[in-house]
């Protein structure tokens, strides 16, 4: 397929700090002994220390990435058009193909996802497994933690973060494994 004229990534982040508090009871006992109103219970509200939500989103040109990513492995998905048609024996009008979530298995040993020395302009990683994932962007320092179901997205500094410096693992020497979905865009 032809390489598109341009590629970009729109991204956003949303953060709500919360604190638990005891509600005020509105419960009363009526003359005949029955109760009305709501007893006190614990609930969550906006953290009074931070006192605001955090978040943001890209605007304008968003994150401009190279239009020719040079390889399909810049994302962890396989488009139906990536399949070799001559290797498919299914009857086309009876076959339903979708983008497959290939995923990427990781172990407790730091491993690169995409090889090469190209500067990375945008990075998205979601932990689709059940064990916490650790991400290193410089050296082997596992500074960014991605719990199960969580993701990180960032405009990376392409002068210092290259494909080869993006490494993932589970906790060192834990023997654990997990899976991720990702975008590593140069």
């Amino acid at each position: 397929m032809a390489t598109p004229n341009d590629r970009r990534i729109v991204y956003g982040t949303f953060v709500v700090p919360q604190i638990a508090f005891n509600t005020t009871s509105t419960e009363v006992t009526r003359e005949e002994g029955s109760t009305a109103g709501t007893a006190a219970y614990e609930d969550w509200k906006l953290d009074t220390t931070v006192a605001k939500r955090f978040g943001g989103k890209s605007t304008g040109d968003h994150v401009q990435i190279t239009h020719d990513q040079a390889m399909d492995g810049w994302v962890s998905f396989i488009s139906p058009i990536d399949q070799q048609w001559e290797a498919v024996d299914n009857i086309w009008n009876l076959d339903s193909t979708i983008w497959n979530h290939e995923g990427f298995g990781i172990t407790d040993t730091l491993a690169t996802i995409r090889s090469g020395s190209d500067g990375v302009k945008f990075l998205y990683i979601k932990n689709t497994g059940t064990v916490e994932c650790e991400l290193a962007l410089e050296g082997d320092e596992r500074d960014i933690l991605i719990p199960s179901g969580a993701s990180v997205s960032m405009r990376t500094n392409s002068s210092s973060v290259t494909s080869a410096t993006v490494k993932v693992a589970t906790a060192a020497s834990s023997g654990n494994t997990t899976t991720i979905e990702y975008i590593i865009a140069i």
């Binding site: 004229n5 919360q18 638990a20 989103k57």
Partner: protein, 125 residues
Amino acid sequence: MSAGDKRVLYKNHCVPQEQVSSGGRYYLDSDCGRKLTGSNLYSLGSNTTATGTVTSSGAIGTTLDFIAVTATSIGSGTVMISLDNGTTSIIELKEGECFASKIASGAQPYVTISGTASVDYMSGT
């Protein structure tokens, strides 16, 4: 839970897009095929949170478990984040963008501002 406990709900989304021809509209990138998102409700328990605003380069805390950093305004220059006390900037924020993540307690988040900018942050310890 008990009164005073804290937690952080955070979500990160992205939508890869491609433009077929010059001047045309952008479509969902066909290499990916969908919008992507992930979320987490991170419990801080009885630990503390903090918030602040910085207008010059500096650390935003030590032994933190969670950070959210937003470039609220950039007059000139760049806003970068490092997790090794300023040695290697790994994340760039344009105006209005935010980075939020759980981090290792050994990470040393540091904001580098070259130029004029205002950056809001919150942290959980």
